[in-house]
């Protein structure tokens, strides 16, 4: 079982990202479960969504408290919420940031850190507005490239199937982000897998 938590702000598409990732993994033959943090959401407020992944049907029906992987859709969340809460030692963090993994020294000794300028990529592809780009599909492309957990083609197929508007631009953003992601921190072999 592998568990993943996505941090975002209301309106950035964290919940959709969790569903797309689950659909992509399902197409690859995995069992999946995805859900938002249970509660009331407001635009701009911190939100979270979760994905469970396994080779067998998933029976845990409780909250995810000790994830293996974290995705952060908004870099301002790094100081607003405890994004590493419960993250397993050696776990991975993918951050939407124009910086490099080395710019996060507090994280890089303990976790595998990756960065991608998803906001810039999304804005370039006219996803959302320039000030409020919708970064969820770009970050999933980056996640496919840096995690090895899911194929980029599966992510693109899930986007084409389930994103009703601008599917092409979303796929392009995912591919550009996959090519642009920067990985640092712990070596890949130290990271736990399913």
């Amino acid at each position: 079982m592998r568990e993943l938590r996505i941090h975002g702000r209301g309106g950035q598409g964290a919940v959709i990202a969790s569903k797309l990732l689950a659909a992509a993994l399902f197409h690859e033959g995995r069992w999946v479960q995805s859900f938002p943090a249970f509660g009331v959401e407001r635009r701009g407020a911190p939100v979270a969504a979760f994905v469970r992944i396994d080779e067998v049907p998933i029976r845990l029906r409780c909250e995810v408290t000790q994830p293996d992987d974290i995705i952060v859709l908004d870099p301002t969340l790094l100081t607003a919420v405890d994004i590493t809460a419960g993250l397993k030692p050696g776990g991975s963090i993918l951050i939407n940031s124009e910086g490099l993994p080395g710019d996060f020294p507090a994280l890089i000794g303990r976790f595998r850190v990756a960065t991608v300028a998803a906001g810039e990529i999304a804005a370039r592809n006219h996803l959302g507005s320039r000030t409020q780009p919708i970064v969820n599909t770009a970050i999933l492309g980056a996640f496919a490239a840096c995690s090895g957990l899911v194929g980029l083609e599966s992510v693109c197929a899930a986007i084409e199937e389930d994103v009703p508007q601008h599917a092409e631009a979303n796929v392009r953003a995912a591919r550009e982000a996959a090519a642009a992601v920067q990985v640092g921190g712990l070596a890949a072999q130290e990271v736990s897998h399913v």
């Binding site: 969790s18 569903k19 689950a22 659909a23 399902f26 069992w31 999946v32 479960q33 995805s34 859900f35 938002p36 249970f38 509660g39 009331v40 998933i58 029976r59 845990l60 029906r61 409780c62 909250e63 408290t65």
Partner: protein, 386 residues
């Protein structure tokens, strides 16, 4: 077709495949997605049903009662306070013997205002004459919704399909969505035994004097008895088409067990995981899942639990002044077992208002229930802060 969908949309798909003809609903979290999806299906023409917008849940059920009385296949969905507001009309559906299907997404009642899962909303409607079926997975939600129409129309009773808020309603997981052609074979168009007909006018629900009322109640009870066996038949037919069935009661690894957990809803899944771990350590422990709450499957539960020493009932609900509702019902059902076969029943109240029920919480209950010499009680509260 297999798709990753949330539990709410599993209901919507079930209703669409069942070719519901009238849908009347009022939105309430966490149910809203069910009727939102159905309204889109109606708007696009995918589902040829009349979608009636109403001003309250009371009216939603009233519209379903009217539609069902004319012979139409009617559906609605609600939760919590919305279901409570329907209460009067639930009696009109139940005692009116109208095969309406409703989804209730279990949500806690306020105040304190709470949108999270808790079964007290549906269980409080126990005596309204509705069959109640609780679900554990999104697949079970979809299958149960389709089966509910079949069962309802066989026994002329309304059926409530019950699913946990968020843990099912907003959780996406793989669901096999059967073909329309297959569902059509299982569920033919409704043929109402009695219906409102302007060419043959009758009145229903009029004054009934003491010399007939009791017989009407007896017929209701008789239909409830009948529903237990009918449900098995409906499940068997569904299983021949799709290969899936659930049982009014399901025993999981209870062979040679000394201790059994009794669960309903999504706590069951997490409990299966815990049971497997304890079995790996050689502990004789199993689980009994209750899917059907009304009619209460007394015979099946006696069979499933006879000879087990201790039973821990996990109730995500409670009746103030009593305790967990499944525990109380189970005690009543097993009381007539011979003393040597009758298990001691421990009722644990937990997870109210959506509080998380983790494997560690269930481990704690197992540790408690097997302590030597503890008296059986129906109101053991789990994890209450001092």
């Amino acid at each position: 077709m297999r798709k990753v969908i949330v539990g709410n949309h599993a209901v919507s798909w079930g209703v669409k495949l069942a070719r519901a003809e009238v849908i009347a609903a009022y939105p309430i979290t966490p149910q809203t997605q069910i009727v939102e999806e159905l309204s889109e299906m109606c708007a696009s023409g995918e589902l040829k049903a009349r979608f009636i917008k109403v001003e309250s849940e009371h009216s939603a059920m009233a519209a379903c009662v009217g539609a069902s009385a004319t012979g139409a296949r009617a559906f609605t969905a609600s939760s919590s306070q919305g279901l409570a507001l329907m209460h009067e009309m639930l009696h009109w559906a139940g005692s009116g013997r109208l095969p309406i299907v409703m989804a209730d997404v279990n949500r806690a009642l306020g105040p304190g205002w709470n949108i999270w899962t808790d079964q007290t909303d549906s269980l409080a409607q126990r005596d309204t004459g509705w069959i109640q079926l609780y679900c554990e997975t999104n697949q079970e939600v979809l299958d149960t919704t389709i089966m509910a129409f079949r069962l309802a129309e066989q026994v002329d009773l309304p059926v409530m399909v019950v699913l946990d808020a968020f843990f099912l309603s907003h959780t996406a997981e793989p669901v096999d969505i059967p073909d329309q052609e297959l569902v059509d074979r299982f569920l033919p168009p409704r043929r109402a035994r009695y219906k409102l007909d302007v060419d043959d006018p009758h009145s229903y629900g009029a004054l009934v004097r003491p010399d007939d009322y009791m017989e009407m109640r007896w017929h209701l009870q008789d239909a409830m008895h009948d529903a237990v066996a009918r449900f098995d038949g409906v499940e068997t037919e569904w299983a021949t088409l799709v290969g899936r069935s659930y049982g009014a009661v399901e025993s999981y690894r209870t062979e040679d067990a000394d201790i059994a957990l009794v669960t309903s809803g999504t706590i069951t899944s997490t409990a299966r995981h815990v049971i497997d771990q304890h079995r790996e350590n050689g502990e004789k422990i199993g689980l009994v899942k209750i899917k059907m709450f009304r009619p209460f499957p007394t015979d099946a539960l006696r069979l499933a639990l006879a000879g087990i020493d201790r039973v821990a009932v996990l109730d995500r609900n409670f009746s103030p002044g009593q305790g967990g509702i499944f525990a109380a019902e189970l005690r009543s059902a097993l009381y007539d077992l011979p003393a040597e076969d009758r298990p001691a029943i421990y009722g644990y109240v937990l997870g109210l208002g959506g509080r998380d029920v983790t494997p560690a919480v269930i481990d704690g209950i197992i540790d408690h229930v097997r302590m030597p010499g503890i008296p059986a009680r129906a109101d053991l509260w789990v994890g209450v802060k001092a």
